[in-house]
């Protein structure tokens, strides 16, 4: 038209080939890594290639490191698997931390209180049930209010995290050992009562196997079951759900019970399954990281394997560079943040198309 014609014009894409979408993601991650490398050099004066190499070493360097990576992936993926059905239902469960922590608390309570009263098998069963139930209850509370009065679940679940933290802090003081130390130490250190068994000599293998099984279960649950279908319908449109006779509040409560129970499982695997103790920080913010894992994978459990790998790799890797180059561990969070920004932003180029006007009336892609 004339000189006032806008330079860039945005339109919505109707479709994009899968290959193209993957390419855009890959470009985004590559760009993010470039920027991160540049920032690393700028802030620390280190050679970014060396830094990345050491990140890779930190994740894959030794078999111990590799198992560490797998264990952390499994734990993060476990929480993400819990969140995925809730998110698919458009229920923003930011309470993964609290739900897992309550699970860990319940399991620890069993170990401490009845550790010497029942057989080890019975104890493991009891503590597992308790952990799943505790996580489920912690998720049930906000779910009921969401279902009944549409109470904002984002902040509700978030606040439940802090309440859980304080409850755990309360019990830690009650059970602390030795007295005055402010922590519990290893529970049942001598009897190992309630500890999850190791497969062979590998203390992480059982956790990893459990989470692999869970991934498949959640994948089939969400994609092929009637429950999974109901979750999708409720998430897409509550009015459609009501129209076809789905009891929306029932689905919300059922799904959150599941979500909370799986979070409780994560707490169980982190407590009796791995660390054999209870601490307010034992979940280590996985409830939040898992939000990213689930969202980046668009709530597909199989894709979540990749996204949880990406995030754990970043964390493990930056821990490694932190120790190797005497940096602060939080450097990893900065890098993670930047990479997330790029991935989040890259969605735009998948959903929209830019048109640049060259001159006059011609336009090009």
């Amino acid at each position: 038209m004339n000189s006032k014609t806008p330079l860039i014009h945005i339109t919505k894409r109707s479709d994009i080939p899968v290959g193209r979408a993957i390419l855009i993601r890959v470009i985004a991650i590559a760009a993010a890594l470039l920027l991160c490398g540049f920032l690393t050099t700028l802030l620390t004066g280190l050679n970014p290639i060396e830094v990345y190499a050491s990140m890779i070493r930190g994740s894959f360097g030794t078999s111990r490191k590799l198992w560490n990576l797998l264990q952390n992936m499994a734990m993060l993926l476990c929480v993400a698997l819990a969140l995925a059905p809730a998110f698919r239902m458009r229920f923003w469960n930011l309470g993964g931390d609290g739900q897992a922590l309550m699970g860990c608390l319940a399991a620890s309570a069993c170990m401490i209180l009845i550790g010497d009263k029942v057989s080890n098998t019975a104890l493991i069963i009891i503590e597992s049930v308790a952990a799943l139930a505790a996580g489920a209850i912690w998720a049930l509370i906000p779910a009921i209010f969401k279902a009944k009065w549409n109470t904002n679940e984002t902040l509700f679940t978030l606040m439940m995290n802090y309440v859980a933290t304080q409850i755990v802090a309360f019990f830690i003081i009650i059970w602390e050992s030795p007295k005055g130390s402010g922590n519990i130490g290893v529970i049942n250190q001598h009897t190992e009562a309630g500890w999850f068994p190791s497969i062979g000599s590998n203390k992480y293998l059982l956790n990893v196997l459990i989470v692999i099984a869970l991934t498949l279960i959640i994948f089939f649950y969400m994609r092929y079951t009637k429950h999974g279908y109901e979750i999708s319908v409720v998430g897409e449109s509550e009015r459609t759900a009501r129209y076809i006779g789905i009891k929306v509040h029932k689905v919300i409560i059922r799904t959150m019970l599941l979500s909370g129970a799986i979070c409780g499982l994560a707490g169980l695997l982190l407590g009796p399954g791995t660390n054999h103790t209870l601490a307010t920080g034992i979940i280590d913010g996985r409830g939040f990281t898992a939000v990213m894992v689930a969202w980046l994978a668009k709530f597909d459990p199989l894709v979540m394997i990749i996204t949880s790998f990406l995030l754990v790799f970043l964390q493990r890797g930056s821990n490694e560079i932190a120790t190797a180059f005497m940096l602060n561990k939080s450097f990893g969070d900065i890098l993670t943040g930047i990479i997330l920004f790029f991935i989040i932003g890259s969605d735009f180029f998948i959903n929209y198309q830019l048109h640049f006007r060259k001159s006059g009336r011609k336009e090009a892609k």
Binding site: T151, N152, L155, I174, N328, D333, G337, I344
Partner: protein, 328 residues
Amino acid sequence: MFDFATFIPRAISQSIPLLLGSTGEIMTEKSGNLNLGTAGVMYVGGMCGVIGAFFYENSPGKMNGVLAVLIPLVCCLLGSLIMGLIYCFLTVTLRANQNVTGLALTTFGVGFGNFFGGSLIKISGAEVPSIILTNTSNFFRAKLPFADKFGWFGKVFLSYSFLAYAAIVIAILAGRTLKKTRTGLHLRAVGENPATADAAGINVIKYKYVATCLGSMIAGLGGLYYVMDYTNGIWSNDAFGDRGWLAIALVIFTLWNPVSSIFASILFGGLYILYIYIPTGTNLAFKELYKMLPYVVTIIVLIMTSLRNKRENQPPEALGLPYFREDR
């Protein structure tokens, strides 16, 4: 005996970061942006202030009071502005999911704060894991000289630093702007119904950017107040805690009104420190339970707000939704 004359000033100074955070978040949300990254923004605001103050304190020469305040202030505003810009670029220009962007911003912001916090601690070679900026803090905490002459009245109303009064003024100004001015009217329209605002000739993108960036800068000041006033210039990693999240919760509590946020923040500030004032004897465990209070109250407030159905009490209608003019 419960000592109100010491409790209230502490509650108020505890409330100021919450007030600044929630005022900033209200401005942001009024434009239709739900910024869950406020925690990260406040963290970065505080850290940038610390960086500015650290280098000024460690520069040779005598400290000048005006510069000692101005440098951290400008650094803080710049840092939080950049956080606001990142958020806007992703959610407004690139139309990304606001919840996820907010969480990523928090990850980034907390990482940023702790990284530089850790680095500065290393540079300063301190024994304890914190940065001590008492000199700068003293300038920030300069009080009205005559406050002491008024007894308890002075203690409760006049004993605060300029940032605290600024926070209250900002909240009142923000409230007035939203209610009485053309800009406020336009901003509310953008948050309620961006398509309508756009059709009425309001630059939706500009309003979202400006409101969100201003909101971030206001929230960032909350971080600065926390480190310069509340902790007397001592930065420790992760000490800022969950204040950012409470500030977001306060927004719902106040029904998007910055003026009621003044009182709500003081209430929350009080709840936050109440455990110190409640006698529990030697039983430390119960103190931990009392620390739960602000969160439990937030939950109760959330529930109560959801029970009120009045039209004016609802969040901005387009909150959390990206806007694309040519959506069909």
